[in-house]
C-alpha cells in the first residue's frame, strides 16, 4: 500500500502564509490550480459561466476552511474536492445528472490497439504482432519536442472524454501521484488506472499517426 499522501513541506509553508493573509501566496495558488478547478467544475455544471461561479465559491470555501485544514491530504487534493462537491450540488440544482459514462467515456472496455495489429485466431502465432510497432527511439529528439508534435498531443487530450482528459493532465502533465488523483477526482484505484490507460493509448495513437506520416514523407 502507498503511504497516504499528506500536505508536503512546500504546501505547509503556503498554508501558513494563507492563514496569515498573504495575498501573493494566495495568487500563486490561484495561478497553479484555477485552470484545473475550472475544468473539474465544468464537468458537472451547464456552462463555463456557472463553472466560474462555482470556482469562485470554492476559493472562498478554501479561505474560510484553511484554519481547519489538517494537512491529512495534500492541499491541492483538498481544494479539488471542495470544487467538485460544490459543482455536483450546483449541477443537481440545475437538474443535470451526469452519468459516469459521459465523463469517463463509453470506450473503457475497447482494445488498446486496433485488433488488426495482432494475428488472428487462425494463425499459429495468434495474439502476436502482425506488424511490429515502430521504434521511436531512432527519431531525432526535436521530432518529439517540436511545437507541431506538442500540438498533436494537446489536441488529442482536448478531444478525450472529460474525466480521461483530467486524469492524464493531472498525472502526466502536472505529475500528481495516482493517490492524489484518486482522492481529488473521487475515483477507485482501478478506475483511475483504466481512465489513464485509455487516455495514454489515444495520445500514443495520435503520436503514432503524426510520426509515421512524417517518416513517410
Amino acid at each position: 500500500m502507498d503511504a497516504t499522501v499528506s500536505a508536503s513541506g512546500d504546501e505547509l509553508d503556503l498554508i501558513a502564509l494563507l492563514r496569515k493573509g498573504d495575498e501573493e501566496a494566495f495568487m500563486s495558488l490561484v495561478d497553479r490550480l484555477q485552470p484545473m478547478m475550472l475544468r473539474v467544475a465544468r464537468m458537472y455544471v451547464s456552462s463555463q459561466a456557472v463553472a466560474e461561479e462555482v470556482v469562485q465559491e470554492a476559493w472562498l470555501g478554501v479561505l474560510q476552511g484553511i484554519d481547519r485544514f489538517e494537512g491529512r491530504s495534500s492541499l491541492r487534493t483538498w481544494i479539488l474536492r471542495i470544487v467538485s462537491n460544490i459543482a455536483k450540488t450546483k449541477g443537481q440544482r440545475e437538474g443535470r445528472s451526469v452519468p459516469f459514462t459521459s465523463l469517463g467515456g463509453d470506450d473503457l472496455d475497447s482494445p488498446t490497439l486496433d485488433p488488426d495489429r495482432f494475428l488472428g485466431s487462425g494463425d499459429e502465432w495468434s495474439g502476436h504482432w502482425s506488424t511490429i510497432p515502430a521504434d521511436w527511439r531512432g527519431l531525432p529528439e526535436d521530432r518529439l519536442t517540436s511545437s507541431e508534435t506538442l500540438g498533436v498531443v494537446r489536441k488529442a487530450i482536448d478531444s478525450l472524454p472529460p474525466m480521461q482528459a483530467e486524469v492524464i493532465r493531472l498525472r502526466d502533465v502536472q505529475g500528481w501521484s495516482s493517490e492524489e488523483v484518486r482522492n481529488a477526482l473521487d475515483l477507485s484505484e482501478t478506475n483511475q488506472r483504466v481512465l489513464l490507460h485509455r487516455a495514454r493509448a489515444k495520445v500514443r495513437r495520435a503520436l503514432e499517426l503524426e510520426l509515421t506520416i512524417e517518416a513517410q514523407t
Binding site: 484555477q34 469562485q56 479561505l63 474560510q64 521504434d135 521511436w136 506538442l150 487530450i157 502533465v173 495514454r200
Partner: protein, 89 residues
C-alpha cells in the same frame, strides 16, 4: 522477431496491461511473466517504449494561463475575506 518461449502473455494481452505495469500495480508473478515476454519480444518492447515516450512528451505540455479578469476577481475575494474572514461571500 523472436517469439517468447513462455506463452502466458500474448502481445495482444500485454498491451492491455502496460499502464498497470508502469504503475507498479501488478502482482510479482505477473510482472515477472511480463518482463520475461518483453525480454524476447521486440514488438512489445517497442510498444512499451512508445508508451514511455508518450508520457514524456505529454509531460512537456504546460497548464493554461489564468485570465487577468479572473485573477482580479479572485484577488477581490481574497481581500474581502481578509477584511472579514468569517463573513459569508
Amino acid at each position: 522477431m523472436t517469439m517468447p518461449a513462455d506463452e502466458d502473455f500474448s502481445c495482444r494481452e500485454l498491451v492491455e496491461v502496460v499502464t498497470q505495469y508502469l504503475e507498479g500495480a501488478m502482482s510479482d508473478a505477473d510482472r515477472e511473466r511480463l518482463e520475461r515476454h518483453l525480454g524476447g519480444c521486440s514488438g512489445c518492447h517497442a510498444v512499451l517504449s512508445q508508451f514511455r515516450t508518450t508520457i514524456e512528451v505529454t509531460g512537456r505540455l504546460t497548464e493554461d494561463q489564468v485570465s487577468g479578469e479572473q485573477r482580479e476577481a479572485l484577488r477581490d475575494v481574497f481581500r474581502r475575506w481578509r477584511e472579514a474572514p468569517s463573513a459569508s461571500s
